[in-house]
Structure formats: C-alpha cells, structure tokens
C-alpha cells in the first residue's frame, strides 16, 4: 500500500537518493555525530539533513543506532564528537530540556507517560513558560490562573483530537499501550514543537489503532510540523513517509523516497534480508 504523495514530498523529488545528501530546506542538520560504548561504535553519522515540513522515517535493523541517534540529538546522551543544528541553532552540548524548548520534542520507544498523574495533568505539564512553575509565583494562583486556563483549553482540544478527552481525569497509568502512545504524542504537541521525533510510535499498538496513529502523524505534517520517526514496519513507512533514512551499524547507509530505498540492494542486504532472522527489537 502506498499513500498519496504529500505536497511536502515535492521539494524532495529533485533530491538525489544517496546517504548524506543535502536537502533544499533542512530543519535539522547533523555532522560527524559519533557515539561509542566501549569498543562498539553505536552511531557514526557523517552527514544527515531532515527536510522541513516532511515526514522522515528512520529505519534499520536491531542495534543500528536509531534510538541512540535520537538520544544524542535531543540531549539525552552525550556524543563523543560531532555537531548538529536545529533551524540554524547549534545544539551540541545543549541539555535535553533546552532542546525541547527550542521546538524539538521527542517521544520514547517505551512510553513515558506519568502513570500516577491524570491524563490532563500529563498534558498540562508540557505547557510552555508557565508562570505557575516559578517557585514564588506558585504561591499566588492569581498570577498563573489565566495561563492555566488557556493550557487546560488547549490540552482538551488536543485530547479531543486523539480521542482521549473522555479519559482526561483518569490516571494515565490506566491507559492501554496505544492510548499511551497517543497521549505521549498529544503531550509533545503541548510544547508547540516544530520538529516531532517519534521513537517507534507503533510499537506495542494493536492493529486497530495503527491507522488512527498514522492519521495523526500525517496530520502533524499537514499542520506544518516536521516529523522524524523510527519505525520497523515497512508498510507503515511506505504509507506515510516522504523520505526514508536507513541506518545500519551506526551509519547512514541509504536514504531516499520509500520506494527507492526498499529497492536498494544495500538496504535489502543490511536490513530486509536479515530482518527475518533477528529477534524483534527490544528496549535500548
């Protein structure tokens, strides 16, 4: 199955499908990003660009370094070397919370919903620049009630979009795996990101919910956001991505439009050819 080509794919039509190729309007640019664990090189990316307004899939076999690259780019891990920038702002050495504030928000392979907090509180937590989060203002509800009201309104809108509005006051721990993925995605949007990085958004989601999730991911792009996501399911990748980046053993070995990439012998050799002999991917 192949989705309709999105307008976002058009600027990419002229881009040559080869590793490290420059994009006409790159939002995220990474150079020489390396991370080693002992003797093992987990990530060694020479050059990577992510086109603004596109959905880019990051695929690769187990241990290819996809999640590690996510962690490095978002400040959750420190590289041995390299530099990268987001919308022209250098981000190496910037801490995770500042990366999020720049507008680059990630989700996690194993969802990190705050299980003991309500679904609504999960959403409200992600409010930007909340005056009520300053220690001394916290004592004075009059100073932050207005902002809180706006945040509640926006949170409910986003929850309604992903169909979780009825669950707003339930503890997030009571949600199913798929609902948690939806909540995490909706929560990320509270930060008003320009780049949403989804680490295996479909993992552990029942097939009935997969289509809903796909629809929401496409909607992110249609709102003008950029999406970078890690995925294993080739059907999913085909269906929604404008561009695919393939990693193996820490390096980018191929990139291009979905159909091109899946026909690439190097990819078949490194990923598709061996995928059937490997265990399904587990945690990082």
């Amino acid at each position: 199955m192949t989705g309709t080509p999105s307008p976002a794919a058009e600027p990419l039509a002229e881009v040559a499908p080869q590793p490290g190729v420059p994009k006409p309007d790159a939002l995220l640019v990474a150079d020489d990003v390396r991370r080693t664990f002992g003797g093992l090189t987990a990530v060694d990316v020479d050059h990577l660009e992510v086109q603004r307004g596109s959905i880019t899939a990051l695929i690769g076999p187990n241990g290819a370094g996809k999640t590690t690259l996510f962690n490095l780019l978002t400040g959750f891990d420190k590289p041995d070397g390299g530099r990268w920038s987001f919308d022209g702002v250098p981000l190496q050495g910037v801490s995770a919370h500042q990366v999020a504030r720049q507008g680059m928000v990630r989700t996690f392979q194993l969802t990190k919903v705050l299980a003991e907090m309500s679904v609504l509180d999960n959403m409200l937590l992600a409010t930007r620049d909340h005056p009520g989060e300053r220690f001394f203002s916290a004592f004075l509800p009059a100073r932050w009630r207005g902002r809180e009201g706006d945040a509640v309104e926006r949170a409910r809108e986003l929850l309604a979009k992903v169909g979780l509005d009825a669950k707003a006051s339930d503890a997030a721990g009571t949600l199913s795996g798929g609902q948690r993925k939806l909540l995490e995605m909706a929560r990320a949007l509270m930060v008003e990101p320009s780049l949403v990085m989804l680490d295996e958004p479909m993992a552990g989601v029942n097939p009935a919910l997969t289509q809903t999730l796909l629809h929401h991911i496409s909607a992110l792009r249609d709102e003008g956001r950029t999406v970078l996501f890690v995925e294993h399911d080739m059907d999913v990748v085909h269906e929604i991505s404008d561009w695919v980046v393939v990693m193996a053993q820490g390096r980018v070995i191929a990139e291009g439009p979905p159909r091109h990439v899946t026909a690439d012998p190097a990819v078949i050799d490194a990923y598709l050819g061996t995928a059937h002999h490997r265990d399904p991917e587990v945690g990082p």
Partner: protein
Amino acid sequence: MDLVQVLADSLRAAVGVPALAYALAVIGLNVHFGYTGLFNIGQIGFVAAGAYGAGISASLWDWPFPLAILAGVAAAVVLGLLLGLPALRLRAEYLAIVTISASEIIRIVVRSPSAESVTGGPRGIGRWATSFYDLNPIPDGRYGIGRVTFNQNEVWVLLVGWTCVALAVVATWLLVRSPWGRVLRSIRDDEDAARSLGKNVYVFKIQSLVYGGVLGAVAGLLTAINANFTTPGEYQSVFTFYMYVALILGGIGKVLGPVVGSMLFWFMLQAMDVLLRQAISPDSWAGRFIQQQDIGALRLAVVGLVLMLLVVFRPQGLLGGRAPGRAR
C-alpha cells in the same frame, strides 16, 4: 495502672514541641520524598543547620534574635545548595549518600573539641534564645485542660510553633497544587519525561531540596528555642529515620500526613514509655524482666512493631498517601 495518666501524658506529647518540630521537618521531608522523589536521609542535618546557624550567630557574634533566626534559615538554604548543586546532577542514590554523610559531618564537626570556641563542642550552645521568652505576652500561670497543662513559656513556644506548622501546611498545600508542584510530581514519576517536555528538572529538584530543608531548619530553631539550648546529641542520624516513621504513619504525599504522623509518633512513644514505666513497678511480674534503663529502647521496639503492622495492613498510611515502596 493509671490509664488516665497514660492518656494525659501521651496527649501532652502529641501536641508538644518535639511533635510540632517533627511535623515541620517531616513536611519538608514529604516535599523531598513524597512529592519529588528525592531520597533525603539527612534531614536532621538541616535541623542542625537551623539550630547552630542561629545559635552561633546569637552567642558568638551577639546578633539580635530575629537576625539569628534568619541566619539559621540561611544556613539551611546554603546547606541545600551545597548538597544539591553537585548531588542532584547525579543518579538518585547519590543524594541519599550525600545527605546522610553531610548530616553526620555536621554533627561530628560541631561536637569536636577543636570547634569548641564556636559551637561549644559536646556541651553545645546554651541560653541563646532568652530574648524569645522576653517577647512572651502570656501572663504567668498554667494553661490547659485537665491533666494536660503547660506553663506560660511552654504555651508561648507551642503557640509560635504550631503557627509555623499551620503556615507550612498552607504554603505546602499551595505549592503542591500549583503547576510547580505538578512538575515535582512528574519528576518523581519519570524525570526523563519531564526533561523531554522542556522542564529544567535540576532547578526544580534544588528548589524542592532547599524548601524542605528550610522547614527542617525551622524545626531545629523551635527545638533549640524550647530548650534554650543546642547540643550535638540532638542531631543523630537516627532522628531522620524517626521522621520517616512519622511520614509513613501519616501518609506519604499527603499535605497533612506529616502533621498527623508526627503527633501519632510522639503519642505512641510517650504512651509506651508511661505504660512500661507503670508496668515495671518492683512487685510486678514485668519488673523481673525489664529494667528501668531498657524502657527507652523498648518503647522504640514497640513503635517499630506498630510501623511494621501498618506497612503490612495499611501501607498508604492513615491519610491514604502513597505506599512507601512506590514512593519513588
């Protein structure tokens, strides 16, 4: 056995200065452990910082009483920053190590003979809070109900002390239901999630540590004012664990849990003390097994037993807070 006396003495302990001081320190501990998930096992260090901060400025430098009190609070702020700035960047376990070590270092340093000219060494600092009693507006006499009575100076300390507890409860209630408190709870649940949403987890942890530490310092100030004395023996690590007992009794992560827990802890401790003392009169059977000097340890053993039963049958504490095992 005189059960009315047991009840009267226990009630007296439940509203007494140790109980209110524990309530304050445990409210702080609850912010650390119950709301932020910071495993501070050196809360007594903040209590000591408050008492010695004020005691030294009042006795050594002759600071006026209100300034000395501020110095006590400031000492706790400095201690919180000193511990938090390095330790809160590291994994959670380091905070536990650093806090208990710091509280022991403080105790050992202040009681060392070489520090005697400043801290009074093992003898401590005496009579530095006399001006507090000069401010006492309450006429001489005994006040109370039935056998539970206090003199005018005790009433003065209790009045100020419980006012502090009330203020701390209200302040903490405002904090934990604010968006600031929401960030603390998210840190307790999963700090990487908070980080991924743009929250500077480190700053919130430091604020939490300092706020709870200041409440500990106020507890230390009130205890020292009550005795008009500060001695190193009051700051042993074991007292931090008594505070945890009070916290678990009342309910972790409940605003009033620390108050209920501290009052109950002191009620039980005193009740066991008086009961045991009455039980071991020379002609009784118990007197043959238990000596007078065993009572201090035995009453704690009974409190420990109560705590075990509580954790088994009502782990969420009296007010229905978080079970201890899930507090982080």
